[in-house]
Amino acid sequence: MNARAVPVWDLWPDGIEWQPMSPKLRTVWVLRSLLNMLILAVIAAVPLTIWLGWEGPLWALGGYVVLAGLRSLAVARTVKTWGYAERDQDLLVRHGLLTRRLSIVPYGRIQLIDLSAGPIERMFGLTTVQVRTAALASTIEVPGLDPLVAAALRDRLAVRAAEVREGL
């Protein structure tokens, strides 16, 4: 591996304590990607069946197993890159396996904080915190938090946002 290829967030001047996401997040995301792939496989099976006859569904199944396996591996590795850190003045979120992103949101600019949980996430008891600023492009997500942790994070963020209020 290239010496330069360290993740961009490890170069931050002062050390940051990254909070990991809940370990269940990997399961949730792998399941979600498996489901998505299954839908794709079913859609792909129709023309394959018309084209190849009864071998079509088998091909679709085989393709599904291979692709879903690869995808799950990628997703499982991606989950590890997620992390967030609360600093004095801002919230840092990092993620991305191939394209690495480090987002920095100052507390003073936070306009809205949403909690959301999809069906699979709910099954495993996870919650996503979404933080919005006035810039439409910068909605920051912190996925895969324990509901209590998420609520606590939201309350902390809300209090900090009210304390240091900055304009547009």
């Binding site: 290239n2 330069r4 290829a5 993740p7 961009v8 967030w9 170069l11 931050w12 001047p13 003045q89 801002d90 991305g96 191939l98 394209t99 690495r100 992103r101 480090l102 987002s103 920095i104 949101v105 100052p106 003073g108 600019r109 306009q111 809205l112 904080i113 909690l115 600023t133 006035a134 810039a135 439409l136 492009a137 910068s138 920051i140 609520a151 939201r154 309350d155 809300a158 209090v159 009210a162 304390e163 209020r165 900055e166 304009g167 547009l168």
Partner: protein, 481 residues
């Protein structure tokens, strides 16, 4: 803000609130008494508002007239239109009007669906005077009233006599307690060469000749490329399929979307030229007043404390002339969505003029920046524009430069940075590069993007941006709308 806070906290116990409420007091609308005399709009309003419809009807009647050779039909149609339109206008006018009641402006409208709009003048942001062509013919004008925290649509008062509109604008501004409230000594014939004007323009007026040349130079590369591409495509397909009528028709059908886009860009260039004619920018207290337009005159107000960023555009053929265009981004919140507006503060100008306007829009902003280029190993990724790309942490603003066709400097003051992102693509990672995004309020396109910086520099830049943004934001009072 109170609605937002509720939404944030949901049904959970709310965290302790800040000692005092932020922003303006909650606004409670009131209604003026029933018998209050409404001020009417100009009687020609319904006619002018339906001018497009009337034109379409007239065209249809004209076609009908010429095809059927029945000239009486036109007479009947005109008579019927006059009677019906007149009665409808009279009825409509009864229900339309406005009242200034205390610190509110009430606008009434609609016959079947009544509408009553209340404009809290405390939250007035700007009152723009617009004069569309059809209204100018009759010496009328329209007022666009923009309010902080509104639903994004301007309240409109259309149409009023021009001098009445100016009076009303001054009245509204004075109620709102805004600078620029004194009725301006502007004569009704809106001549730009009027020397009796109280405030003198910041820069000498842009002559039509210079503007025309600038527009031409700006459009020329696009036009030439488009013509070249279309010509080549036409020649190639022609040599393959022959130049028969069918082949040509098919060709035009196939390229219709591209041709349409080309046509539209040409029209927008011409429109922009017409809009920027007779450009005049003046400073009035905390506002920049912009008046411009050849066929449709418009007056715009840019509050200087609301400026989010200043852009300097340099189309490729302007380089030799050393001309620049200045655009100013202003942000406002409406319904939790920030809207960013880009206003031309100078359509074309020499470096000195550009510097004047820039310094007015953002105090102490220089107009020339010595930006640092990305490292050399990024050059193959942008061979043409590498030399003209760069970033700089200036004294007051984060400055980035990008673009080849149109080279742009974006100066984003530190106090206006909403959030910062460092993004590293997969090839960038192998090269040890990263891109820094500094986001301003508003839509997705409006970010200052320093592309392909060295990784360590990028991260340090992001940290520094955050530090400076905090420092700059601490210096100024929060502005929530």
């Amino acid at each position: 803000m109170s609605a937002e806070a509720e939404q944030v906290h949901g049904d959970e116990p709310a965290p302790p609130l800040a000692p005092e409420p932020y922003g303006p007091m909650p606004y409670t609308p009131s209604a003026p008494p029933e018998g209050m005399q409404r001020q009417r709009l100009h009687p020609l309003t319904p006619l002018l508002e339906s001018v497009r419809f009337l034109t379409a009807v007239a065209a249809a009647v004209g076609v009908q007239m010429f095809t059927s050779r029945n000239f009486l039909f036109a007479v009947y149609a005109a008579l019927a239109a006059a009677v019906v339109g007149g009665i409808a206008s009279l009825i409509a006018l009864q229900y339309r009007g406005f009242v200034i009641w205390g610190r509110e402006l009430h606008i009434y409208g609609g016959v079947f669906t009544r509408s009553h709009r209340t404009v809290p003048l405390d939250r007035l942001q700007s009152v723009d005077l617009v004069r569309p062509l059809q209204a100018r013919v009759f010496g009328l004008a329209q007022l666009n009233i923009e309010v902080a925290g509104g639903d994004g649509t301007d309240a409109k008062l259309a149409y009023l006599k021009h001098d009445r509109a100016l009076e009303l604008r001054a009245e509204l501004l004075s109620i709102a307690g805004r600078p620029g409230a004194q009725p301006r000594t502007e004569t009704a014939d809106d001549s730009t060469e009027d020397v009796s004007e109280a405030s003198s323009p910041l820069v000498p007026p842009v002559t039509v000749r210079k503007l025309a040349l600038a527009s031409l130079l700006e459009a020329l590369p696009v036009q030439l490329t488009a013509l070249l591409v279309f010509g080549t495509a036409f020649a190639v397909t022609g040599s393959i399929f022959g130049f028969t009528t069918v082949a040509t028709a098919l060709w035009f059908g196939f390229f219709a979307p591209a041709l349409f886009g080309y046509l539209q860009s040409t029209i927008s260039t011409v429109n922009r030229f017409l809009r920027n004619c007779r450009f005049r920018i003046t400073r009035d207290g905390g506002n920049l007043l912009i008046e411009r337009g050849l066929t449709d005159t418009s007056h715009e107000t840019v509050p200087v404390d609301r400026v989010t960023a200043v852009c300097f555009d340099e189309p490729i053929l302007w380089r030799r002339k050393d001309w620049r265009r200045v655009e100013v981004w202003t942000a406002a919140v409406s319904q939790q969505i920030s809207v960013l507006k880009s206003t031309t503060a100078l359509p074309v100008g020499s470096p000195a003029e550009v510097a004047t306007v820039a310094a007015e829009a953002l105090p102490d902003l220089p107009a020339a920046f010595a930006v640092h280029r990305p490292p050399r190993r990024a050059r193959w990724r942008m061979p043409m524009r590498w030399k003209r790309t760069g970033a700089l942490l200036d004294e007051k603003a984060f400055v980035v430069r990008h673009g080849w066709w149109v080279n742009t400097y974006v100066a984003l003051p530190y106090a206006r940075i909403q959030s910062v992102q460092v993004v590293q693509g997969r090839i960038q990672r192998l090269q040890g590069l990263a891109t820094v995004h500094a986001m301003s309020a508003g839509s997705i396109g409006h970010t200052a993007k320093a592309a392909h910086r060295d990784v360590e520099e990028a991260v340090a830049m992001a940290a520094e941006l955050r530090r400076r943004a905090d420092m700059a934001a601490a210096l100024e009072a929060p502005r929530l709308s």
